[in-house]
Amino acid sequence: MKQLIQATIAILVVSALLFYAAHTLSASGGNSGKNTVTIFNWGEYIDPNLLKQFEKETGMRVIYETFDSNEAMMTKIQQGGTAYDIAIPSEYMIEKMKEEKLLLPLDKSKIPNLKNIDPYFLDLPFDEDNQYSIPYFWGTVGIVYNPNYVGDLDFSSWNDLWDPSLKRKVFLVDGAREVMGMGLNSLGYSLNSLDNQQLRQATDKLITLAPNIKAIIGDEITPLMINNEATVALTWSGQAADMLSENEELDFAVPQEGSNLWFDNMVIPKTSKNLEGAHAFINFMLKAESGAQNADYVGYSTPNLAAMALMDEEVVTDERFYPSEEQRDTLEVYKNLGPDYLGKYNELFLEFKMSIR
């Protein structure tokens, strides 16, 4: 009994000490809500040096957290446990978050650098007049491949993925909308299709792709492509740009039947406790220098014209990653499908995944 009491007291003392230490440490960091900016972003989606620069310029502290899907991000913001000041969702999710009243309107007088953004990316249907969102990056979905291992396939058509020579070679990204979108596009349908028959056909067609599938994974595909462990992968353009810069052999193509054009945008969720800091951060990221540095680091396409002027000419004229406006016309932006069809897309995607054996 005596030993038990001693052990209990020891544990309590240690806990108290740890609590005190943690408390003083966070107090010296000025972690009071007013002085911190909490950013919620995709993984590998910002140059960490920019966060340091921002801290230096403003004296605010940045807390940086990452998510791996729009849906996971929205769930966390809905639950409201953390006071996120900035989040970076994709366009269809902004539409949904607007409906659910999870976003705060922006005060554009505090974002003078908005003038740097290409007008093409402003005032888009998902957020007219940019009341809630500011473009961060944009891009497409396509196929990254190693020309040395795929014969004369050039992936100008989605149907090239079905080529028998690619048995057990194709990697897909683990996203219902990307994969279902590919299936729909390959049949010439819209990737926002709400037609049950088209969805059924697309799923059946995807199931015939099963023998060619090696794996369905997430960001882990990047090192595999770089190390030549994988030869063909369905992925986002920016991720492909990352791979191409590390492995010169690789190439990227957006099939002609059409694909997805997406925009990721900075928003201020209603959980924000530091509106001043959130606006300052958006304005900071829109500066020409920050935009260029970030685009260099992340590899996605920037909507920032002033930043593009500072970047390598070769990069910003590469039509694989900065398609011309004409090419962009064959691409489609994801629409918010509503819960019923989002559920349906996911059920069908699951059915497809189950067919891979």
Binding site: I217, E220, L350
Partner: protein, 269 residues
């Protein structure tokens, strides 16, 4: 008087069970009866009996069975020899330590180890074979899962073997039983409890593994755990996610009943 104090000292535990065991399960059951718009329905249960989910349940069971089988196959002899070593507590500690490292970290390490340019393929090449892509296969998935579960299986088996009275084995040998018969008739029955709790702590979590299915098996293997994660985080269909969870709880109860220690009364006799 004494009975009264005993009852009131039980109160905090009852409260705990009510809040953290009964209430969550009740919530899961409640959500499983709601559709995507929040209306009351049994359609989730209907959907569970569609071919997709039945197939998934069967394959979850199959993989969990394989994982448990191989874990037991490796763990029992390991635990047996551990009890025979000199510094058995030290050896045991060395086996337990890897389980302190984060699961995800260990899984990522295997991506490198199994890679086309990883150490295993380097070795395969040295002994004169072509390098193989080992990631994203059933074998690699089962290997990594077994590796992760081994400490959890060894611990209960080691404890029951360690408690085994060695004079019983001597007696059995003295009475003329071969070492195989001794093992089958004496050691195995007396360590059955350890094996059963080992199976419980491996089989049940193996049914709902989810990160490894993506990282190592590349979603070629889909367990009920993956489906629950998808339903909650991606589809946001909490109803369907809860329904799968209800079935998972049911399966767990069944497994607990099968491997439960109902033979306790028998032993006294």
């Amino acid at each position: 008087m004494q009975a009264k104090t005993a009852k009131s000292s039980l109160f905090p535990y009852l409260l705990w069970i009510a809040f953290f065991v009964i209430a969550p399960i009740a919530l899961v059951v409640y959500y499983s009866l709601l559709d995507i718009h929040g209306h009351f329905t049994f359609s989730n249960y209907q959907a569970f009996f569609s071919s997709v989910y039945l197939k998934m349940t069967l394959s979850s069971f199959w993989y969990a069975l394989l994982i448990t089988f191989f874990t037991l196959l490796i763990s029992y002899p390991t635990a047996y020899f551990l009890t025979k070593t000199k510094n058995k507590q030290l050896w045991l500690l060395l086996i337990i330590i890897p389980s302190w490292i984060n699961l995800l970290l260990k899984t990522y390490a295997f991506i490198g180890i199994f890679g086309l340019y990883g150490p295993i393929n380097a070795f395969i090449e040295i002994i004169g074979f072509d390098p193989q892509q080992m990631l994203f296969t059933d074998a690699s998935f089962i290997f990594v899962s077994v590796y992760i579960f081994i400490p959890f299986m060894i611990l209960p088996i080691f404890n029951s073997l360690d408690r085994l009275n060695p004079t019983l084995i001597d007696a059995s040998r003295d009475l003329g039983a071969s070492s195989f018969t001794t093992f089958r008739r004496v050691v195995l029955p007396l360590t059955m409890d350890g094996i059963k709790s080992g199976i419980q702590v491996v089989f049940i979590p193996a049914l709902s593994l989810f990160m490894i299915t993506r990282l190592i098996a590349g979603n070629r293997v889909i367990t009920l755990g993956t489906a629950i994660e998808q339903q909650f985080l991606v589809t946001q269909n909490w109803g369907m996610g809860s329904t799968i969870a209800v079935f998972l709880i049911l399966f767990m109860v069944i497994i607990m009943l099968i491997t439960g220690q109902k033979d306790k009364g028998g032993r006294v006799r």
